[in-house]
Each structure stands twice: as C-alpha cells, then as structure tokens.
Symmetry: D2
Amino acid sequence: MEASGRKLRLGMVGGGRGIGVAHRVAALMDNQAELVAGCFSRDHDRCLEIGRQMYVPPERCYRSYEEMADAEAALPEDRRIDVVTVITRNSFHFPISKTFFERGFHVICDKPMTCTLDDARELVRIVEATGLVFCLTHNYTGNLLVRQARAMLAGGELGELSRFIVEYLQGGDRIRFAPRPEPKNWLDDPAQVGPGGTLADIGTHAFNLLEYISGDRVVALCCDRTDLTGRTLVPRDAAMLVRLAGGARGTLTCSQIAPGESNELNFRLYATGGALEWHQNRPEVMRVTREGVANRIVWRGRDMAPGVQELVRAWPAHPEGFLEAFGNIYLGAYEAVRAHLDGRPMRPEDYRCPTVYDGLRAMRFVTAALESFERGSVWVPLEG
Amino acid sequence: MEASGRKLRLGMVGGGRGIGVAHRVAALMDNQAELVAGCFSRDHDRCLEIGRQMYVPPERCYRSYEEMADAEAALPEDRRIDVVTVITRNSFHFPISKTFFERGFHVICDKPMTCTLDDARELVRIVEATGLVFCLTHNYTGNLLVRQARAMLAGGELGELSRFIVEYLQGGDRIRFAPRPEPKNWLDDPAQVGPGGTLADIGTHAFNLLEYISGDRVVALCCDRTDLTGRTLVPRDAAMLVRLAGGARGTLTCSQIAPGESNELNFRLYATGGALEWHQNRPEVMRVTREGVANRIVWRGRDMAPGVQELVRAWPAHPEGFLEAFGNIYLGAYEAVRAHLDGRPMRPEDYRCPTVYDGLRAMRFVTAALESFERGSVWVPLEG
Amino acid sequence: MEASGRKLRLGMVGGGRGIGVAHRVAALMDNQAELVAGCFSRDHDRCLEIGRQMYVPPERCYRSYEEMADAEAALPEDRRIDVVTVITRNSFHFPISKTFFERGFHVICDKPMTCTLDDARELVRIVEATGLVFCLTHNYTGNLLVRQARAMLAGGELGELSRFIVEYLQGGDRIRFAPRPEPKNWLDDPAQVGPGGTLADIGTHAFNLLEYISGDRVVALCCDRTDLTGRTLVPRDAAMLVRLAGGARGTLTCSQIAPGESNELNFRLYATGGALEWHQNRPEVMRVTREGVANRIVWRGRDMAPGVQELVRAWPAHPEGFLEAFGNIYLGAYEAVRAHLDGRPMRPEDYRCPTVYDGLRAMRFVTAALESFERGSVWVPLEG
Amino acid sequence: MEASGRKLRLGMVGGGRGIGVAHRVAALMDNQAELVAGCFSRDHDRCLEIGRQMYVPPERCYRSYEEMADAEAALPEDRRIDVVTVITRNSFHFPISKTFFERGFHVICDKPMTCTLDDARELVRIVEATGLVFCLTHNYTGNLLVRQARAMLAGGELGELSRFIVEYLQGGDRIRFAPRPEPKNWLDDPAQVGPGGTLADIGTHAFNLLEYISGDRVVALCCDRTDLTGRTLVPRDAAMLVRLAGGARGTLTCSQIAPGESNELNFRLYATGGALEWHQNRPEVMRVTREGVANRIVWRGRDMAPGVQELVRAWPAHPEGFLEAFGNIYLGAYEAVRAHLDGRPMRPEDYRCPTVYDGLRAMRFVTAALESFERGSVWVPLEG
C-alpha cells in the first residue's frame, strides 16, 4: 500500500512537559499521522501517563530512546514507526537523531538541531549519506503570512529589499527580571543547551525567519550583548547588525530578559517598492505597503500565493496560530516522508519545511555571533 | 473497556466544504477521537474524496445521512460510531440530529440548532427523553479568555456588571457590499437557513457569548434593523437594546453587511469594580481593568481560573485561536459522551460545552428579535 | 480697519479650572485673537491669578460676568472685546450668553448650550433676532479626520450609509466605580448640570458627531439606561437605538461609569461601498475600507478634502489632537465673527463650527432620550 | 518691569513653509510670547504674507536675517525682540545663530544645530562666552510621557537599564520609494544639509531621545547603512549598535526610505525591574511593565512625576501631540530667557529644554556614525 493510502506512524522522543503538547497537537491535527510509540520522558511513569492520554499502548511506551529505536526497528515493517519526532532538551537532539537515522527512521527534530557546529556538520553528512528525511521544526516559517511575505518578496512586487528589523523578545510578566547567577533550570545550563543560550534558543528562529522570508543569505554579522547577559552562564540577550548577500542591511535582536514581552517575534521589511510588518503574536494580520496603497492591514486566509492558500484551515479572522503554523511544518515533513516511502524522494530544497541545511545555517549563525562578541563585537562572516 | 481507555469513534455529516476542515481539526487535534465514518457531502464523489483525505474507509463514506444512521446502528457495538457531528446547512440540523438520536447516537451539532423555535423545543424534548448527549458548537465560548472572563465575573472580583457592548460584525474585504436581491447562495435563502438570517447565523453567537460570560439571562430586547436589510430576503443586519435579569443593560449588534470587518465578535463589559474587553480576532489578549490597575493587557495562558488553565495547549503569546477554541468545545462534548458510555452520565448543566438548552435560548433570542422588529421595534420579553 | 487686519479681541467667562486651559490654548494657538478681558472665576483671586498668567490687565479681570458685560460694552469700540467665550458650569451657559448678546457681543459657548429645551429655543430666537454669531464648541467635529469622514460620505465615494455604531465612554482609571449616592461635585448635581447628566455632558458630543459626519438627521431614538444609573441623581449612562432620516440605523452608547475608558469617543460607519472607523483618542488615523481596498490605515494630513487640508498644522504622524481640533472650532467662530465685523455676515449654515442650531438639536436629543426611558424605553421622534 | 510681567517678544527666521506653522503654534500656544518680527522667507512677498497672517507689522518683516538682526538691535530695548527662533534649512542654523548672538539676542534653533562638529564646538564657545540662552528644538523630549519615562528610570523604579531599541523611521505613503540619483530638494543636497543626511535629520532625534530618557551617555557605536543608501548623495538610512556608559546596550535605526512609516520614532527600554514602550505617533500612551504588573497601558495626564504633571494642558485621552510637545520645549526656552532677562540666569543643565550641549552631542553622534561606516562599520567611541 502506498504511504498516501494510510496515516503515517509517528514516534515521539521527549515531550513529557512544556512544548510536548504543542508538538502532539501539531503532529496530529490534520489526521495525517497517528502516534503509535514514544519515549515521552525519562521518568517512565510520566511516559506511561502520556501514553495513556494519547492512546499509545504501554508496550510501546519506552524507557529510553535507545530501547525505542531498537524495539521499533525490530517490529514488522507495517507496524513500526515511519518517523520519529525529537522534542528533548537541546543536548539530546543530535545523539537521538543519529540513533534513529542509524535504524533507518526519518527524523523530525526540534531546534536547535545540535549544540555545536561540528555536530551540525556531522548531521548533514549523515542525512546526505542515508538519504533519509530530516525536518527541523523552525515552526514560525509555518505561519501562512510568513509564507505569503516570502512569496511577495520573491515575486518582486515589493521591489528590492533594503532594510530589515527582526527581533525575538521574551521576558514575560514574571518579575523580578534580574539575571540568575545559578542555573535554575536546564535552559541556564551550558552543558544542556550548548554555549549559545538565547542565541540558539530563540535567535535561531529570528535568523531562520529572516533568511526564509528574504530568500537571501546572511553573509556577515556584528554582535553585541548586554552587560547583564555577561553575568549569566549563557547569553540571555544579544543584538547584531546583519548583512544579506543581496545588499539589504538590518538588525536582529534577541532577548530573554525583556520584561513584558511574551513572545515577540517580529519583522519589518523595507523594500524599494513597499514594506511588510508582521508580529508572531498577532499572526493573522500583516501590514502591507505597496505602490499606491500604504498601511493596508491584510488578513491571513484569502488571495494568498499558490502553495499558501491551500494550507488555509479556517477563514480569515477565524484565527489560526502557533499550533497551526507548527502543523504546517509537520505537513511538510510528512509530505517528504511519504514521498520517500513511495520511492519518489524529494530533494531537500523542495521540502515544505526547514531542513538539515537550515539547521546547519542556524549553527553557523550561533557560532558566528558568539565569535563576534568574544572578539569584541567585530564583524564575522557567515560562510556558506 | 471503559470509554476512557480508547479514543471515541466519531462520525460526521456534512463538512464537504467551508467550515468542515475546522470541525475536523477541532475534533481530532487532541487525539481523543478518531473519525471513522461520514456523509461529508451529498455529492458522493466529494464525500469519498474527503474520506480518502481523512483515511475513512470508503465503505463508511455514506450517500445520505439516513443511510449512515442505519448502517452505523447495524454495526457491532465496538465498531460503530459513538457520536456524530452535524455540519450541514442550517435546515438539516434538526432532522439529522433527530435521526441519529433515534438510533441511539450522541450528537454534536453546529449552530443554529434548528430553524424554528418549535423545532428547538422538540429537540429539547428528545434529548430529555433519551438522556443522550447533545452539544451545540457555539465555539467562541471555547476561547480560554472568554472562560476566564466568565470566571472573573462569577468570582465577583469585578463587582456588579452594569453595562455591556456585544457585537458580531462581518463583511469582509470583498466589495461591492450592496445587498443582493436574489439569493446567491444558501445563506440568503430563507428555506435553507430559516427566517433568522444574520440573527441566527452570527447573532446567536453574540447572544450565547453574552449569557455565557455574564452568567446571567437576557430578559428582554428591543431590536431594530437597517433599511438595507429590508431589501434582502433574510435579515442581514440588526442591533438591539438588551436587558439582563441582574439589571445590566447593553447593546448587541450583528451585521453581515459591515465592509472591512472580517469576523469581529467583541465584548466590552463594564462593572462596578472593573471592566473587560476582548476581541475574537485578537483572542489571545484581554484588556482588564481592576481596582487600582486600569488597562492591563493580559495574555491567555497563565494564572487562569481553575478549569481554564488545564485547557492551555500552548504558552502565552504562542497563539491559540479559533480551532483550539473549537477543540475545547469538542473536548467538552467528548467528556459528556465518555461519561455516558461509562454509565455515569453528567447533567447537562455540568457539561463543559453548550447544550440543547443554549440552543433553545438562542432560538428564543432569534424569535424575539424577529418579533420585535416586525412589531415596530418594541420590547419583547425572552421567556425562560 | 477691517477685522481681517487685526487680531480679534477675546473675552472669557469661566475657565478657572478644568477645561479652561484647553480653551485658552485652542483660542490663541493660531494667533488670530488676543485674550484681553475675563471673568475667569467667581473667586476673584483666582481670576486675577489667571489674568496674570495670561497677561490680561487686572482692570479687565472682572468680578462677575454681568460686570464684565457692562464694562466691556462701555469701552471704546476699538478696545472692547469682539467676542466672549463661555466656559462655566452648564447652568450658566444660557444666562451668560444672553447677557452678552444683549450688549451686542458675539458668543462662543461650551456645550451643552442650555440645560433645557425651552432655553435652547429661546437662545435660537435671540441669535436670529440679533444676527450675532453664536458658536457652540462641540469640539470633536474639529478633528480633521472627522471632517474628512464627512466629506467622504457626502461625496458618495462610500455609497449609502447603512449602519453606525457611535459611542462615548468614560470612566477612567480611578476606581471604585460605584455610583455616588450624594453629588460629590457639580457634575452630579441636577441643579447645576440640568437633568441630562451624561446625556448632556458627553451624549450630545456623540449625537453631534453622528449628525455631522452622516450629514443626516436623527429622526427617532429608543433609549435605555443601566440600573446603576438609576441610583444616581442624574443619568450616568445610557444606550439607544437611533434612526437617521436617510434610513441608516445604529446605536449610540454614552457612559461615565465605564471603568478603564479614558475618553472613548468612537464611530464605526458601514455603507454600501465601504466603511470608516475612528477613535477620538487615536485621532490621527482612520481605518478606511473602499471598493477594492479594505482596512487601510489612513493618517491625517495628506490628500484630504478641500476645506480640510488647509487646516493641517503639522505633517502626518506629527500628531495633532484635542487642542488642535478645538482650535479649528475657534477658527470657524473667528471667521464668522470677522465676517460680521466686516459687514459681510455669513449664514449660520456656512459657519465652519457648530451653531445655535446644533445646540438646539442636542437639547432635543437630550429631551427625547430622557422622555424615552422615562416612558419605559419607547421610541420617541426627534422633531426638526 | 520684570520679564515675568509681560509676554516675551519673539522674532523668527525661516518658517516660510513646512515646519514653520508648527513652530509658530508651539511658540504662541501658551500665550507667553508674541511674535513681533520675522524674516520668514528669502522670498520677501512670502515673508510679508506670513507677516500679515501673523499680524507682524510689515516694517518688521525683514528681507534678510542680517538686516533683521541689525534693525532689531537698533530698536529701543522695550520694543526689540528678546529672542529669535531659527527655522531655516540646516546650513543656515549656525551663521544665523551666531549673528543674533553677536547682537546680544537669545536664540532658539531647530536641529541640527550645525552641519559640522567644528561649528558645533564654535557655537558652544560662543554660548559660554556670551552667557546667552541657546535652546535646541529636539522637540520629542517635550512629550510628557517621554519626560515621565526619564523620571521613572531616574527614580530607579524599573531597576537597571539593560537593553534598548530606539528607532526613527520615515518613508510615508508616497511611492515609488527608489533612491533619488539627483537631489530633488534641499534635503538631498549635502551642501545644504551637511554630510549627515538622515543621521542629522532624524537620527539625532533618536540619539537625543535615548540620552534624555536613559539619563546616560552613549560611549560607542558601530554603524552600518544600506546599499541603497550608498546610491544617494547623503545617507538616507542607517542602523547601529550602541553602548551606554552605564552598561546598557541596544540598537538605533534611522531611515527615510522606509515605505509606509509616517513618523515612527519609538523606544522600547528593558530594565531589571520593568520595561517601557512608547511610540511618537501614539504619544498619549506608554506600555509599562513593573514589578507585579506587566503590560499596563498608561495614559498621559495623571499621576505624572513632579515637573511633568504641571505641563499637562488637557486631561488624559484628550490627546496632546506634536505641537504641545514642541510647546513644552518653547516653555523651557522662555523660562531660561526670562530668568536671564530678570538677572537670574539659569545654568544650562537646569534648562527644561535641550541646550547647546545636546547639539554638540548630536553632532558628535553624526560624526561618529559617519566615521564608523566610512571605516567599514567599526566601533567608534563618542567622546565627552
């Protein structure tokens, strides 16, 4: 039976708390896959509890990802998972992905793909060697207005991109906002998140968004960080000047010590023939300025570009949001997995989701930004 | 096996186009049910196409709802559907619900529940006689900030409700907005939508929202409609003065000839100790004024009332929207269905979703509003 | 010397506190008049203090408005005031205006023009008999986007007006919002404000705005008020259904017990070819929907209608506001006064400011609204 | 007679078009000065026309600023101007200011103060040598919420400033936005605006705002500009990393090729105990996050800091804007002039308006930014 004739069988590693719910909803909302196995937590009771909630049989709720990889690989082909999604803390992304690739499974992985640039390069080699599908969940590129923005720029209707302001600010409404001298959770522990801190955690989203929308590549950056950031073990905050290959210039700011900001991933793009403004936390509207009409507020959902309109699940102003954008990433991954299963593998550049190369770019970004401010906030090129 | 040990089996009638996608996503996003049967369209090819997309076997893609009800009832208990969701045009809601009730199935039904008040009363009798679950998808009460607003008013922290402004405005960005002399689609045809027009189509949402949030009951209304409305076969627009039993007064406006408004379902509530403002198309934030702190912008997702916080799927500012709110309604219906299946039926007043009584109230509202302006926009009481 | 060759000489009655500063700034900001005399307060020390601040000589800082009227009338023609502006509490508007008219002075008067409909009619008679200029400071019609809205509707580019939502909400950020059983200031005292309360205080602004923008006349209304309102000596809050002669229908809500609302005077207008939305406290932008372009955010200041563009003092997004709008009303009054002084009196319908007939309409509105809810919220016509 | 006993006598150079109206309104709105002389335009007919509009006698409408300086100096002390305001194109600011200082007049001057750093230093020397008052109209610091922000940071209630995002974006709704190869007006001509282009024109406002609010000093910057900018004769656009002496870091972006942006001067400030967000074109509100209360929308006008509340002309949500902010700058200048006239000169650091030292700082900023990108976008320190 062709993979298009059945739901995909999905396994999940991690997701015992936090973003796990969002991944499960996103993965299943379009009824294109069923969740059949998981190692949802290193706490096996928690793992079983999630298994119960999600109707995963206890015998496929595993104690470790290694056990899961082995056991699933040993199942008959028509029962074992097709693809695994990895939602653990950062430092596990690479070894888990590698382990599942080694058993021949496709992999969907939360970002950052790895904690180091070397690991990222290694993962690229594995993906290229195996030909298996790897999808990185830079989920914000799943927002339909983000895709529309990319299409508008690519189509030339806004002219030539000149300036951009991209930012990702968090801080929430919990204060005192003072930097924490001791890691209070794993996000403060370099051993578990890698050295990138905020740069890896949210900066990569902003970077990915910029390259995605512009259809261009960052060639150099010059990064500074706050004094407060210096008091923490990993960077909590940075801002940088950024240059695109095509000549556009701009700034990218990412901070997790920005009181009051809940999840402010925003872009403003200025081109010779117009401009776009979008805010992730009001994702349904985009401010569009074009030849003759400034400041039109456009809603997601109607008259969108080919390849975008098809993904509309609800009419304009019947708000889609974070989970639907995330779901679009899963749909992209599933499409690539099905194509592979059916013997017609897609080229990664045709995937409708971020790939291992996006992950590599993101790690180059983190590495370059760290290098920039370690060397006194000098300009650092971003190679290939 | 207890119903809590398995996913529910869901059937669907209607949903071949339009809101169908939204219902399917909402019904399945939390992995609490599987879609196993459907009569998705009277066009059987379209029905089969949706079946394929949703992995419903062709033999359970039915040609008519009557066939579906009969065939499903004939299946063994452990295979047949538990509950059917009805998403057809309005005039079919009542006969389809009735048909499935007669075979012993639980029913989830899109609004309006019926086209006439008599039918609504009849449906109440059927539900009471059978003891089966009926859930009406007034989906906007599934928004978590709507539930939070209800909890805040119920908890007394805003004092006594005095004035409200509730509105539901549509019109979109498609113009010429002129009224259509001839019905161009079924929404203009009284035979298919009932006499209520906009009052039934969106006015009932606004009405339901008002009674839900206030925890109070409308006792009287005085309704006017535009001149333009009079040129169409069904009302396209109305506004009314509304009185609540507890003494609060306000206005309710609903219009589908409001150019530029995409889906503006809004409330502003003023009480003796504070105020709330919420807009459906920016559903993630609520403006809250309380003793000592005016105009705070509060995000969905944190520090919400008991029974609300548990429903959070994504962190604050990782926007949930229309589909998640709709999903919460389905979760409420599923909870009631499972309880019934497990022999511990809930009382309708404990359902965490709108019930047949909400549907009856809504039809009383439509009837009263129609009566008011037919009699020259006089005050009309809303009984029981 | 023609009046166009010199600044006008302005006198002021009232303005010792509150809105006085705003009137003075508005009256003088364009350098078209000089303030030369005043009875700024019944507290003569306060009167002299304001005189000092405004460089009005002490001998023209008067102890009573009667003294002022007499003394100014006794001055030589080239020294005495041309026009007086009246900014006292409501109950004095009528007698002061009358007194100054009797001495032959032109009058600018804060609203409401009178406390009763009879007085309003009497004032109309006086103005018609004397031929003197009377300008009523319904200042919000001085906002340039309000004038632009009127021009757009008059020009027909939005088609036929069908529905409107007009509201004026206050409440501020001072709470407890409970109604005050005893008058705490003159605004709660019917003897000083007239019986209209909020209807007169802010409702008339909303009413005037509606008639001004629509270029149409209210023919009937049906008014309800909150229960809380009933506990105060004057109405603090009301909402009503309103019908325009041209067939448009809508609601008008005014409240001064709306916590969190600072000065929310808003309109939304829906027509067959488009729509407009404007908020007084974001006065620089208007949301405009027209044939082919929905939801454009338009800034005050460019490409405005004839007669509007000329009044622009600052470029778009260099915000003008309340005082500039108020200033435009004064400019309109000064134009009429100069024309009269130069022997070419304008017809009131050509004034570029509200006239005594607007004041009469407003009193009819207050009277009809009061009558409506006293008779059980029935429809009441608004004559002429 | 003490200067406090009379209005100041103001002269004006420039203002024949553009910003002239705004300066005149701002200078006169509070009735603290009278406009008695001017050289409003090099086109003498235009000069006389403005004189007529403003009731300046023709004999004091001068043909050149030199003539004006000489003629006014020759008038008796009780007739000649006290202070001159200079509103010409940039390259004239310095020579005109110098000329009036040489005749002993106080000077109010539009920004930029000079076109070069050397001239700025020279002007400082002149001011220090003469002891006369010099006020630079960096008008945005006249906004009351800007002053409130400064007071809040100074008072320590938000903790320690860590990150800032300051931007000033223009572009308007006139497109095609392509860079102009030939100067179309004087703003594109380096000879008339100096080499700073956008940096001088609007960048200095953003810089001044940052130093004003933070109460801190920029110590270094690293500036990049767009490729498009390179195609114009003067910079049209730049962005930079900026460091404050106190350790805070941030970005400053200024652009005049940002389609759709009307006059977007914005700041977001993040500190260890809270955050502030303000937009010049919605100047009446500020988003305030503090210990325990995130995202409160605060209106100008109530409970403001000492020295700020006194400047309130209109209640909250009775919008003040650009002209009133500008008026506050003039009030600050007048205060300093009166003090000088009365023989009690204030120290410039006590002026309630920007001084010659602000102008010097601004020129250092422009110079450093130009040097930074001419040297390849390296870090450049900002001396004293």
